[in-house]
């Protein structure tokens, strides 16, 4: 067993940290306040070739794995960028994955090189208002018409839609069969045609810089060539997005937790009350020490899941567990950081409140903590399905 990063991974870690830290905390405060997309940040990462990290070399990327993408996103978050910095970048990793794994040669040639450069901006259209976590009940339908498909339906929580040029879209191509509920859905790599898709932004608790939206899709035409993988097997192809998404959001939670912890530790050393640094009180120190230990543990689980995925092994249990423990560890670290700062933890200029608001997301999305526990109960422990 080898827990040491390779020299190349170490270099990636260091260079991403340097680039990400060149965007000061005030940059993110400003983006959050103005609800402005962090284009400068995304463009800096595009210029460094980082957006092509998992795109195969033959299509203009670097052909690395979810392991390296995890290192990338960890350093972005540890630098203090939060989900505001992580979300725009992770859309270059998990939405293209099914295309890489299951797309036709023509589809890959057409889109992957433009994803690698950042020219294509993607969104991920799975969740629906009337289906929620039960993906098999999505109602958006794609009907065969001539040489292609025409899509009608609604999506919700579609992140990045305001800037998206393309969307990975899951739609029903056959009615739900209760015996095989996850078949009959198809995955499309669709151009984001704004004459057929109405975007309505949702105001939310955190990450104002990166939009999440309701989509109303009316008559979106998609050529048959833009089906990713097999018709009717879209959900199974989508798993190659969902597992990396869990792994990446887990490592983001770890990174955000570390950014908050770093600030809290610094503050605990400097802030003097009752004639001593507050960090000398165990009631202040222990939550920070505990946060450190939990973040380390969550990182191990996450990197194991990434390793499994990159080696083509089943990783559902590990990716889900990583998301579960990392969301918890990251949230606890941010909460301890706010508490350590006392009143100033509530003030924007100390930055931990933004991280606290942002990290709350990971207990809900991309999959809720309860649904992870459902998955583990049923698929790992073999307990009867509860719902």
């Amino acid at each position: 067993m080898d827990f040491v990063l390779t020299e190349q991974q170490e270099l990636i870690r260091k260079e991403v940290a340097t680039l990400a830290r060149s965007f000061a905390p005030d940059y993110w405060l400003e983006k959050d306040r103005k609800a402005e997309y962090p284009w400068e940040f995304v463009k800096a990462f595009a210029a460094g070739g980082w957006l092509g990290i998992i795109i195969p070399e033959e299509y203009g990327g670097s052909g690395l794995g979810v392991t390296e993408a995890s290192i990338l996103l960890h350093e972005i978050c540890a630098a203090g960028a939060g989900t505001s910095g992580a979300s725009p970048i992770h859309f270059y990793v998990f939405p293209p994955m099914p295309l890489i794994k299951h797309g036709s040669g023509a589809l890959k040639r057409r889109y992957l090189p433009r994803i690698a450069t950042g020219e294509i901006v993607m969104s991920f259209g799975v969740t629906e208002p009337n289906a929620g976590t039960d993906t098999s009940r999505i109602e958006t339908r794609a009907e065969r018409r001539g040489d292609g498909f025409v899509v009608h339906g609604r999506k919700v929580w579609n992140t990045n839609a305001r800037q998206a040029t393309h969307m990975l879209l899951l739609a029903r191509t056959a009615p739900r069969d209760p015996a095989r509920p996850f078949t009959g859905m198809t995955l499309f790599f669709a151009e984001f045609d704004r004459s057929k898709i109405t975007v309505r932004e949702i105001e939310k608790m955190g990450r104002a810089a990166v939009d999440s939206n309701e989509l109303f899709i009316e008559g979106l035409e998609i050529p048959a060539d833009n089906v990713v993988g097999e018709i009717g097997r879209g959900f199974y192809h989508l798993l190659d997005s969902l597992n990396p998404e869990r792994i990446l959001t887990a490592i983001e939670a770890v990174g955000i937790g570390r950014a908050a912890l770093e600030r809290a530790v610094q503050y605990a050393k400097e802030r003097v009350v009752f004639g001593r640094p507050i960090g000398q009180n165990q009631a202040v120190a222990h939550p920070l020490a505990l946060a450190w230990a939990k973040l380390e543990t969550a990182e191990l689980m996450t990197m194991k899941a990434a390793w499994l995925f990159d080696h083509g092994r089943p990783c559902g249990a590990e990716a889900n567990s990583a998301k579960l423990v990392a969301a918890e560890a990251g949230f606890d670290a941010c909460d301890a950081a706010v508490q350590t700062h006392g009143g100033y933890g509530y003030a924007k200029e100390f930055h931990v409140e933004r991280l606290w608001r942002e990290i709350r997301l990971y207990k809900i999305a991309p999959i809720s903590q309860q649904m992870v526990l459902n998955y583990l109960s049923e698929h790992v422990l073999g307990l009867p399905r509860s719902y």
Partner: protein, 259 residues
């Protein structure tokens, strides 16, 4: 134009440097290393020159096995090739021993220009470049805040009290560059991927024709006698602004003949 850059690999700037009380040397074992940010400026300057007029950039690094991360860092920035002087016999070399090892390696290369940082950001002696120029038999142009090459003529600007000096020389020459000379590029992911494929040539002391009389602890003529903390600075003067703050600051500076 063939450029050789002498680069040091040093503990990460975020690491608090520890001194081993027994050897009085910096503890480098189990400490994360990186290409010295000062050396990165020398690499950057070399890359800018060769991007304009063609040629190669060879990075020479003397250091332990864990220095390769910093060497790959220089290759990731775009250096053409790298030479790693790595041998337990080199450990403990003083500045002159280091200069001898670097000179021996550089003599094996066709070179027009050698670029060094003015000093490394871990030990700050600033001795090696001058010694190296002497050993290579080329003029040293030091403290460059800018560097240009036209044909075979090298021109640097060197900060001086009242402005700057312009110093020129014919190639071959050794130039030391200062911190302000440039902002080094960030290696791209493609650069990092490419660095893995570039060869790092390794030389031992024997390859360099150097023995214990010249290098390592035994060859060192400098001896570190003690290492201590600098004396604490006296407390500063606090000026409270009660309407007269600006004037008080001006008076203070005028007193020191700074304005």
């Amino acid at each position: 134009m063939n450029i050789v850059v002498c680069a040091k690999v040093v503990p990460l700037s975020s690491v608090t440097i520890q001194i081993d009380p027994a050897t009085k040397r910096m503890v480098r074992k189990d400490v994360s290393q990186e290409l010295d940010p000062q050396a990165a400026k020398a690499v950057e300057e070399a890359l800018r020159l060769t991007e304009k007029q063609g040629g190669s950039v060879t990075v020479v690094v003397m250091g332990g096995d864990d220095a390769t991360i910093g060497i790959r860092g220089a290759l990731a920035m775009g250096a053409t090739a790298a030479i790693h002087l790595s041998d337990p016999a080199l450990a403990g070399s003083d500045a002159l021993g280091t200069a001898k090892a670097l000179a021996a390696a550089i003599r094996k290369e066709p070179f027009d220009l050698v670029i060094c940082a003015t000093e490394s950001s871990d030990s700050y002696t600033g001795l090696v470049p001058g010694q190296l120029a002497q050993l290579l038999g080329v003029p040293p142009l030091t403290f460059a805040t800018s560097l240009t090459v036209e044909g075979r003529t090298v021109t640097i600007k060197r900060q001086s009290e009242g402005g700057y000096d312009v110093v020129t020389s014919e190639l071959p020459v050794l130039v030391t560059v200062t911190t302000g000379i440039n902002e080094p590029r960030y290696p791209t992911l493609k650069g990092i991927m490419g660095a893995k494929k570039k060869e790092i040539r390794k030389y031992t002391a024997a390859d360099l024709g150097l023995g214990p009389a010249e290098i390592g602890e035994s060859g060192a003529r400098e001896k570190v006698l003690t290492v201590g903390r600098p004396p604490a600075r006296p407390a500063g003067t606090v000026i409270k602004d009660e309407g007269q703050g600006g004037k008080q600051i001006a008076d203070f500076l005028a007193n020191l003949k700074l304005i």
